[in-house]
């Protein structure tokens, strides 16, 4: 089975989407899986990438939530792919999607997942399953915490279930996951992070509140 792992984050490295795909990859890797990695960082795909993608059996997208939806650079790529998939008329490619957001609640990714389902209908591809992940901002710092333990307990379980579906070419209900970490603590940690960042840039804490 040919599987495409598509990282839709614009960040060249250290993205939460990259962490999520790494964890998923560990569950699905086996001899009969041919896994290819793609990074959609720019608003345009080249002809070679498009051709290669039309030959995959499974597309797995992971991307960050941008203002309740799909980041624009990825949306440009999806419109390009829509044309390409309609032209080759392949209807048996399965699509799975993992969306992460900075908000605590995983269900805030639901509309981006719906848009990916709508994209599947337009392109003629088959929808597999969507996973919405909350507190994505925390994932990079938890990279060394084993999947399925500590704050990643829920996430590990959801990724394991998703990987079973992928291996069986199955479909599943969209799932939303929040970390095993209290919301108030996540909020405080995030705010402390912004204060540290702005000071590291030579500005003052109160500059976070600047207006134009």
């Amino acid at each position: 089975m040919k599987i495409a792992l598509i990282n839709g984050s614009p960040k060249p490295d250290n993205s939460a989407s990259g962490c999520i795909l790494e964890e998923l990859k560990a569950y699905i890797e086996s001899e009969n899986m041919m896994i290819s990695n793609y990074n959609f960082r720019k608003p345009q795909l080249n002809a070679e990438e498009i051709e290669k993608l039309t030959e995959e059996d499974v597309l797995i997208f992971a991307f960050p939530l941008y203002v309740d939806g799909i980041p624009s650079h990825l949306l440009y790529c999806l419109t390009q792919l829509e044309e390409a998939f309609i032209a080759v008329n392949k209807k048996d490619i399965l699509v799975y999607t993992l969306v992460n957001c900075g908000f605590y609640e995983g269900h805030q990714n639901r509309l981006a997942i719906e848009m990916m389902e709508n994209w599947c209908v337009k392109t003629g591809l088959k929808w597999g399953q969507g996973v919405g992940i909350g507190a994505g901002g925390m994932l990079q710092s938890l990279k060394n915490v084993p999947a399925g333990s500590g704050p990643k307990k829920n996430l590990g379980e959801v990724i394991r279930q998703l990987s079973d579906n992928i291996k069986n070419c199955g479909t599943g209900e969209n799932t939303f996951v929040t970390p095993n970490f209290p919301r108030f603590a996540y909020k405080l940690a995030a705010e402390m992070g912004w204060r540290t960042s702005i000071k590291a840039n030579g500005l003052r804490r109160k500059d976070l509140f600047l207006k134009k």
Binding site: P71, S72, L75, L78, T79, F103, L111, I198
Partner: protein
């Protein structure tokens, strides 16, 4: 001030709005927009302004000075067209990085106090019922995250249906 963001070609826009629009700032596609790269510079390096200094770098400021936001967008998969989404993504300096809890959900805190009335007009020949449902939910979700009130969401089959549209 009124802020109008649209993805129409110039000729189409002129046909729909032949007369100059009073007190309206118009944001259109000049094919020079850069995508948001998720750097958070608009929160921690140049607060309230995007680090990318193309002609869309001050969307947060424009939003802070408007009381009415009108979006005209092709409907793509139940969301905005890539250009409109690009402008929306570049508008996050309008909000503050800190979080607040509203109606049991986490959202970004306000940076500005202005009140924005949001109107969205989606167009497209083959908008499905499912896409309409998604689009309606999207505009409502945007209004919570961008602290606006939705006053109208409409769907048109084609651009010419918008002719005579009174803003």
């Amino acid at each position: 001030m009124r802020l109008l963001i649209h993805d129409l070609e110039n000729e189409e826009f002129q046909r729909i709005f032949p007369n100059p629009l009073d007190e309206t700032m118009i944001i259109s596609n000049s094919d020079s927009i850069h995508n948001c790269i998720g750097c958070f510079g608009c929160w921690v390096k140049t607060p309230a302004a995007c680090l990318i200094r193309d002609e869309y770098g001050d969307m947060g400021e424009h939003m802070s000075k408007c009381n009415e936001l009108i979006i005209i967008s092709k409907c793509c998969y139940g969301g905005y067209s890539p250009f409109i989404k690009n402008v929306v993504d570049r508008s996050i300096p309008y909000v503050h990085p800190y979080f607040v809890i509203e109606s049991g959900e986490m959202h970004h805190r306000r940076r500005y106090k202005n009140h924005i009335d949001l109107k969205v007009c989606f167009y497209g020949e083959n908008i499905t019922e499912k896409e309409k449902e998604t689009a309606e939910k999207l505009v409502k979700a945007n209004s919570i995250n961008l602290h606006c009130s939705v006053s109208n969401i409409s769907f048109k089959h084609c651009i010419s249906e918008m002719e005579g549209l009174i803003l």
